[in-house]
Symmetry: C2
Subunit: 183 residues, 2 copies
């Protein structure tokens, strides 16, 4: 289990990812920018259009069995063929955060299939979750996905399935930033 | 569900709590200091002997039923008769953090009774949990307890029971700071 690491997503005029579109899905959106960089939290620039911070952490919902399945199937970030990416920041409602751990788990997995649906898209999609809520950030989670261009339609299917799930009734802000690896 | 709040425990020569003893329970200890203050994270002073940071967050293990029991019985901090306090920073092992959520819950509650044991000491003991691991701090959790002097023996019973539990086999650093309200 790696130690927590703090990252920043910095949207502006530089970075290895070209922003293709910024879709305001639920609630207040984010402005368009030309480029996006992701890196250690110290790397924020003053000229950012927006920047979002988050940290990797221990698993909060997956069981030991699911962890084993995820570990076996999860690819690394940075594969050369995965030239498309999505950064999807979400915030969940106060009602979500007031639920017990068992209730959140039941909604997320037993009734919404968050882990099992995601597993079906591995290893085509590489995914990394960053926690933001505890930093007082505007979103609770930042999820970063990388996939090859020919997997784009299948990836839209995953995103649509999750948005139609019971879990997503507790999402009160969501932005979907799509990117292509630059140069 | 209150938004996360960042706090700092600042041990040095000022603060509303007089440090009575610092007990190195497991692993590397912390030095003695005269006073301890707790407050919002911005309040750290340069002259601290040590300072530990943490944040309040959503519940990570309790069920909805347990949350209801805790909410009904949990007293506020700052009661005038509760002139004794304990600050118990702990760190858990990599083996703990590599477990699935279900496995950590089973060890913590089903086999160690962390919540049910604690409930039996409410409302005599007021308790607040701060998360530190995700900040890269030397401990994973800081737990703060306040209780009246005539409850001290019963409080020692709670601490001893938890230290004898299966959950504590995963604790690889623990310090126990005992305090009395000053002035």
């Amino acid at each position: 289990m790696a130690a927590p690491a703090h990252f920043v997503f910095d949207a502006g005029d530089h970075g290895e990812w070209a922003v293709e579109r910024v879709i305001d899905v639920i609630g207040e959106g984010l402005p368009m920018a030309a480029r996006l960089s992701m890196g250690p939290a110290a790397a924020v620039t003053a000229r950012a259009v927006w920047c979002l911070r988050g940290f990797t952490s221990n698993i909060r919902y997956a069981t030991g069995i699911e962890l084993g399945q995820l570990a076996a199937a999860t690819p690394p970030l940075g594969r050369p063929a995965s030239t498309r990416a999505a950064l999807i920041p979400i915030r969940k409602s106060d009602a979500w955060w007031a639920l017990g751990q068992d209730e959140r788990r039941a909604i997320m997995e037993e009734r919404s299939g968050h882990v099992s649906r995601s597993l079906r898209h591995l290893p085509a999609v590489a995914r990394k979750l960053f926690h933001s809520r505890d930093l007082g950030e505007p979103f609770d989670f930042l999820t970063w996905f990388e996939y090859p261009p020919d997997y784009a339609d299948a990836f839209e299917g995953l995103v649509a399935d999750l948005r139609a799930s019971e879990e997503w009734r507790y999402v009160d802000r969501e932005v979907d930033v799509r990117l292509a690896r630059a140069g």
